[in-house]
């Protein structure tokens, strides 16, 4: 087995206790939540008898340790349980909703990076110029404007007043049908299906929510790019490179930018995982059937299996993301190596 592969496997092995911890904590925490699912799901006109019937039907009359072992046993077989609220396996729910969130978040991040990184670099190179001020204004605005506000504002201007944007009705306007499911990403699936009409319909729906999220995520990325570029530009090796007579572009992109990229990638990873779980408000405003609103709805009705499934999925995603970021470090900076024990 090659060294990098072994290192990756070792990293994966290290995550086992983390995931186990997440399973235990999410189980205990959901049970500690106020609210009795049996009462909730017994419906509006429940009496004591029907509440009890529901409690038994949900298996909530069992002692807690038993419930946990049943849950853990199912989990080992890859079964996250059934959501009471949606009446479907949690895995199915997540598979439906995670791609929606990922598509939105990734698009937003792409837009954010496309704007924030060049802006940050320029702001660092031309310190004090108008670009630097623009960067500062955007960053401040991005941080201080809550996403639901930006979302509503964009809808008001582009949909309500100007009528340019399509109806904010989720991933596709009601006259279109979902493309045949391959990845769950409508943009990709519609292209695979060779259906440009649906592709553009999905894209049009995506623009406003993605812009809303991009405005929010742009701030930390631009700020980090600017700061790390400044640090890089003032370091000794840049002075050496300049003294050696290398071209400006070579110094900037070959040396300074590459070194500045490391903290930017870290920030990117953090922003991504944060935004994926936290874009509930954007999802609500744009009727986006994503994972954030799923989790909030589950939380409101104490739908245990759904909450646990969401937490676990997010934990696994985090673990995976960290792995990818660590691996990308080795590509950006060859000095960093995995300690392959």
């Amino acid at each position: 087995m090659s060294a990098p592969l072994r290192a990756v496997l070792w990293r994966i092995l290290q995550t086992v206790p983390v995931v186990f911890g997440v399973v235990v904590i999410s189980f205990v925490l959901t049970r500690a939540l106020p609210g009795d699912p049996a009462v909730y799901f017994a419906g509006a006109m429940a009496d004591e008898q029907s509440i009890e019937e529901v409690r038994v039907a949900l298996g909530l009359d069992q002692p807690l340790w038993r419930q946990f072992f049943l849950y853990a046993g199912d989990l080992l077989q890859g079964d996250l349980g059934n959501s009471i609220s949606t009446g479907q396996p949690v895995l199915t729910d997540l598979a439906m909703r995670l791609p929606a969130s990922l598509e939105l978040t990734l698009t937003a991040l792409l837009i954010a990076c496309a704007i924030a990184i060049p802006l940050g670099v320029l702001a660092a190179v031309r310190q004090g110029s108008w670009v630097d001020h623009l960067c500062r204004v955007l960053v401040t605005a991005g941080v201080s404007l809550p996403t639901f506000f930006t979302g509503i504002l964009l809808i008001y201007v582009f949909y309500y007043l100007l009528g340019i944007a399509p109806s904010p009705l989720g991933r596709l306007d009601f006259i279109y049908f979902e493309p045949p499911r391959v990845t769950g990403f409508y943009l990709i699936d519609s292209l695979i299906d060779g259906d440009p009409e649906t592709f553009f319909a999905a894209l049009r729906q995506l623009i406003l929510p993605a812009t809303t999220l991009a405005l929010f995520t742009l701030a930390p990325i631009a700020r980090m790019t600017r700061a790390s570029m400044l640090t890089a530009l003032s370091s000794d090796y840049i002075r050496t490179a300049r003294a050696a007579g290398l071209s400006g572009a070579m110094v900037l992109f070959g040396y300074a930018f590459r070194n500045a990229l490391l903290p930017v990638v870290t920030t990117l990873g953090m922003v991504f995982s944060f935004v994926l779980g936290a874009n509930v408000l954007v999802e609500k405003v744009f009727a986006w059937p994503g994972i954030g609103s799923y989790a909030v709805e589950a939380l409101v009705v104490s739908d245990y299996a759904a909450i646990q499934g969401f937490v676990l999925a997010m934990a696994l995603l985090f673990v995976f993301l960290n792995l990818v970021i660590d691996l990308s470090y080795t590509l950006i900076d060859p000095r960093i190596r995995f300690a392959a024990k």
Binding site: P34, G35, D36, V39, Y40, F41, A42, G43, A44, M45, A46, D47, S50, I51, E53, V54, A57, L58, I84, S85, T86, G87, Q88, T92, D93, M96, R97, F148, I152, I155, Y159, Y160, G163, S167, P168, L169, G170, R171, F174, I175, Y176, F177, E178, P180, R181, D195, E197, T198, E283, K284, V285, F286, A287, P289, S293, Y294, L299, V300, V301, S302
Partner: protein, 534 residues
Amino acid sequence: MTDTNRRTFLKTSALGAASLPFLKVMPAMAEGRDTLVVVSGQTINSLDLHRVGTNRASYQVAINCYDRLVSFGTKTLPSGELSYDYETIVPELAESWSLSDDGLVITFKLKPNATFWDGRKVTAEDVKWSFDRAVSVGGFPTTQMRAGGLSRPDQFAAVDAETFTVTLDFPSKLSLPDLAVPVPFIINAQVAKANATADDPWAMDYLHQTPAGSGAFKVARWDQGQQLVYERNDDWVGGPLPAVQRVIVREVPSQSTRRALIERGDVQVSFDIPDRDAAELADKMTVHSTPIENCIHCACLNTAFEPFQDANVRKAIAWAIPYEAIFNTAAYGRGAPMWGGPETVTDTQWPRPFPYNTNLDTAREFLAKSNYADGFSVPLSISLDLASWMEPTALLIQENLEKIGITCTVEKIPGANWRTVALVDKSLAFHLENFGGWLNTPDYYFFWAYQEGKLFNSSNYYNEEVEELTNRTLHMPMDHPEYAGLIQRMFEIVIEDIPRIPLWQPALNVALNGATDYEFWFHRQLDARPIAGV
């Protein structure tokens, strides 16, 4: 249904693949508006009302896609709006029915031409299976069936293919109306049984995603958490054929987005909009604000707690509440006032305005007569889920009670926990509450909200006479000579004892922009059958 892609949809859809084989988009905007788009903030989480965990918004599937034996008629309200009519029972799947002389056996004759979506004739066996299911699955459907005196499968019998009987243990005026609520809907028993398993004899898993009925609309498509598409069933015999071919119910959680959509006219119906939007949109489009029958927003005083055991304290609070300010601030004037009513009870109108009003001097007099002349402090609990009306109401009550020496601290309880503490444990001293009964009789309201131990009696109220009167009137026909007198006596007692202080009767607000003939129903869900496009 969720995995249906475009192709299977077109194959199975009512339109049929033949007419539109290569269509990439739905023919939504065909001329004459035969498609309506409805937006709602709530999510439909099941297509089977009987399932444990099915939420309120999902009841509309039982209404639009299934039939009952009977339904309620339609009446025009004084405002000119349409409403269901509790007084008139009309046929749906039953052609006629008769009551035995002792009032214990109801015999239904089914419509001979009624068919399920798969073309099979609706038989009494299907009705029997569906009713057995409703009383056997437990939870809400079983409770609702019990309200009409229907609790065991042996009460239902299929005499022959078109004759079905219901045998009651005691005659009750609630039995027939209870067969017209959404719960006892008739399922295609053959389809359901074919998909039932030993663990799941009632085919809960199957019907959750795949309805099998005879109703006015079929479910053409259901994307959970996004949309439900109804497609008209042209063979429906339960009533007048719906005017529109297709109704798309889109879930849009954000209220501001829903408002933008209806104002722009991109959707034709916005269902259950907040009072504030209703007030603001009223001059731009048609807004229906129908006071919800048998439903009252109340301030409840829990008699298990010290100060509220004193009738004078309860009256002091009832006189101190700023009713008008609450109605204008929290309800934006939508609904009906429940204060300042006549001193004496001479009719059986319900919900009725109680004779209390805002008068701080009277309130102080009552408080002075009580054992709490110097006032006291008490938490006033509200549910965060219902904060839109509860919070402004609580703040206004708090402000006025302060003036007579009662200090309230507003306590906000998370929605998931509210039912447990308020209704099941009944452990909140002073709180806001809202109960609405499906069956529109005062005794039914009393049964749930004023009888000891009942779920919505969050005041822990107990009065021997009210117990007895409620039991006597609950199943008594409303034209019985004693009925009016007994009901009026019940009113007098709870007006005097005032464990629940009525604040106002809330309204169900629906905005229409490009649609007409909306009809209000007690179940507070959209009945898509009468509605038409303009």
